[in-house]
């Protein structure tokens, strides 16, 4: 027993049995935090030749949040994807820097920007995410909550309509007031809805995918299977009509159609969804004045009458001017005039950043979003259960759609709708919900990339361990998959040597190549 051990290359045994070091993540986090702190410093230097107020508070908070999240992920989700967390920390840091920059400008447009408060929300978000990663052992347990999630979504969506706690701000009745806090419950409803859709679709996808007539080469669903999509369509229209919230309405319906497509792989659902959406949107733009204004401001943005009108295209065009001022390389942190645009720190944070970082910077930011979404979809592809696939795919698509809708809105590709730029824009609820989403995605990613013999999900074989212990290594190396003990041990073969196996694929990439 002991002789062959010496023939083994100790590095190989070590390399395969240890949990991933997550050095790539650590290094990316260092870069991300540096980008955040660098931006804080540059804002102060440009505005008043010294470090800005709150510089140390902001910098230390950002670094501490990144570190805490990294440590928790390393302990509880060691196999999770290594680029997700750094991408989010970078976006969060850059967003905070822009809020700080607007606030420091001290102009009329800065009223409402509050970087300290937003940092506190970020911190709360990270804590929430860590709790989820810590206590949610397996994303599959969420499947049991499918219908609970549905009810929770409906309650959350309906809360702002209740008299007493519901409040209408800037024309949209999407807020509830709880003591000192105003929250937008719809932000959480998006996530609970993704959970519900994933659970519902994984159970019912066969009927949705297989039954139905074929027309013009397109497999159409049966009429009675249209029920759920009609229901969600009606709910998103209700959000639009009762709460005047174009953005959320679009997101809810978009996620559902995308997840239907993910689950059934049938393009007819996308067509039906697009037709229903186009019809609903057209009717809404005719029937509801505020939707009509948005469309008009989009199509005729540069018409002087529309530009000067209250609620016209002034804000939109201001953002366009800002981006034009930024050009290819931007004006530099603190040197543009982003505060001239109303809500330059929340809905219009994209144009504010585009002014100061230029096209070059914004392409980098958009690529970070792209990397994030790609990791989400890759997780969906790799994970080994259908529920996890739909959940990860839905969450990744939610972020992608949200970025598309708001960035498309402020760049005049689409009519402007008020959704937040995930991770960047000021807004407490949005920040909490985004971090919650990250936690779920990291959890699924961990399950997707975890080798099947890892102690985290497998049990430690009690008896055969003693024989196969490799000196100098702890005994957790020998593992049996739960429920397989009997099957595995009867053949008398050594159970497992978790030595050099192909699962090293999913271990941490070695740091070489990262640092170079």
């Amino acid at each position: 027993m002991s002789a062959p051990v010496q023939t083994l290359n100790p590095d190989r045994v070590e390399g395969a049995t240890r949990r991933p070091m997550r050095l790539a993540e650590l290094w990316l986090l260092v870069l991300a935090v540096a980008a955040g702190i660098g931006a804080f410093a540059l804002v102060g230097l440009a505005l008043h030749d010294s470090l800005p107020h709150h510089f140390w508070f902001e910098s230390l908070s950002l670094a501490a949040l990144a570190l805490v999240a990294h440590v928790v992920v390393r302990i509880k989700a060691p196999y999770a994807d290594q680029t997700i967390l750094p991408a989010v920390v970078l976006l969060n840091g850059v967003g905070l820097a822009m809020i700080l920059r607007i606030q420091e400008s001290g102009t009329r447009g800065a009223a409402g920007a509050d970087v300290v408060r937003n940092t506190q929300w970020s911190a709360l978000g990270v804590v929430l995410a860590c709790l989820v990663i810590w206590f949610l052992k397996d994303h599959r347990s969420l499947r049991k909550l499918t219908y609970t999630a549905m009810i929770a979504s409906l309650v959350l969506l309906a809360l702002p309509l209740l008299p007493g706690i519901g409040r209408s701000i800037n024309g949209a009745r999407i807020w509830i007031h709880l003591g000192a806090f105003s929250v937008q419950p719809a932000e959480f409803a998006k996530i609970t809805l993704v959970i519900f859709f994933a659970g519902y679709l994984v159970t019912n996808r066969d009927t949705l995918a297989l039954a139905g007539p074929k027309v013009l080469g397109l497999q159409l669903p049966r009429i009675r299977d249209l029920g759920p999509i009609i229901l969600v369509w009606a709910a998103s229209l209700a959000v639009l009509v009762l709460q005047s919230d174009l953005g959320t309405s679009l997101l809810l319906f978009g996620i559902f159609v995308a997840m239907l497509y993910l689950a059934t792989q049938r393009f007819s659902w996308v067509l039906i969804g697009l037709v229903l959406f186009a019809g609903g949107a057209w009717v809404a733009s005719q029937m509801f004045a505020h939707v009509g204004w948005r469309v008009n401001a989009w199509l005729n943005a540069f018409d002087p009458a529309v530009f000067n009108a209250r609620g016209g295209s002034g804000q939109l065009v201001g953002g366009l001017f800002g981006m034009a001022n930024g050009g290819l390389f931007g004006t530099g942190w603190g040197q543009g005039f982003p505060y001239l645009v109303p809500f330059s720190f929340s809905d219009f944070i994209y144009t504010s950043l585009a002014e100061e970082l230029g096209l070059t910077g914004m392409l980098a930011i958009l690529t970070v979003y792209l990397v994030f979404v790609e990791r989400g979809l890759r997780t969906a592809l790799t994970v080994r259960d259908g529920f996890g696939k739909l959940l990860a795919g839905g969450l990744a698509f939610l972020i992608a759609l949200q970025v598309f809708v708001i960035v498309g809105g402020v760049t005049r590709l689409l009519p402007l709708t008020g959704v937040t730029v995930p991770f960047m824009a000021q807004g407490g609820t949005s920040m909490l919900a985004s971090w919650l989403l990250i936690a779920l995605l990291l959890r699924i990613s961990d399950a997707a990339r975890r080798p099947s013999y890892d102690p985290g999900i497998a049990q430690i074989a009690a008896t055969p361990v003693a024989e196969h212990v490799i000196p100098g290594r702890d005994n957790t190396g020998v593992i049996v998959i739960p429920g397989e003990n009997g099957l595995n041990s009867h053949d008398g073969e050594p159970l497992t040597d978790p030595g050099d196996t192909s699962t090293t694929d999913v271990l941490a990439p070695v740091p070489s190549g990262v640092g170079q």
Partner: protein
């Protein structure tokens, strides 16, 4: 500060952003190449394994029995053995599972290594396990059966790489 300093800082910041992006993409790229099974690290590992197998050849045959630690790691996945189990058809299409030396349980129960959400699969449907340098397939008394080449599997059969195993609506196969 001078105009020049500001310009340098401004451009330097953009460089920092892109360094982050490119580093992240580098991590992604390495992930892709190792997942495809052809990463540089992986190839080096293969070479190591071959060299290790080649060197003690004269003594290898009798030695393999008393080297339980070394044997299983090179046996099922030597130079040509399969390295992963891939779902090639069905709802989980595209999912791949790295092969280890433990057996893989396939079925609907959440404890399975590969969980199939498929009404036609049993909760403990089949298992695939390595023995003596080869992989075997065993039907665990499933209701609807496990099929290889349209033949229902009874008992244990050897499973060469590239042969599709039909379980419910899914097809899985071992790939190198």
């Amino acid at each position: 500060m001078s105009e020049l300093t500001f310009t340098l800082l401004r451009l330097g910041y953009l460089v920092l952003l892109w360094v982050f992006v490119l580093t992240a993409i580098g991590v992604l790229r390495r992930d892709l190449s190792t997942r495809a099974g052809g990463g540089a690290k992986e190839r080096r590992r293969h070479r190591d394994a071959e060299r290790a197998a080649a060197a003690p050849v004269p003594a290898a045959a009798p030695a393999s029995a008393p080297t339980p630690v070394a044997a299983p790691q090179s046996a099922p996945r030597g130079a040509t053995g399969p390295t992963r189990l891939v779902v090639v058809a069905g709802p989980l299409q595209g999912t791949s599972l790295p092969l280890t030396n433990s057996s893989i349980l396939i079925g609907r129960s959440p404890g399975s290594t590969l969980v199939l959400d498929d009404d036609y699969s049993s909760s403990r449907h089949a298992r695939i396990f390595p023995q003596g340098g080869q992989w075997f397939l065993e039907d665990l008394g499933s209701t609807n059966g496990t099929f290889v080449n349209d033949q229902r599997v009874t008992g244990v059969v050897p499973l060469p790489p590239g042969v599709g195993v039909q379980i419910g609506r899914s097809v899985v196969e071992l790939q190198g």
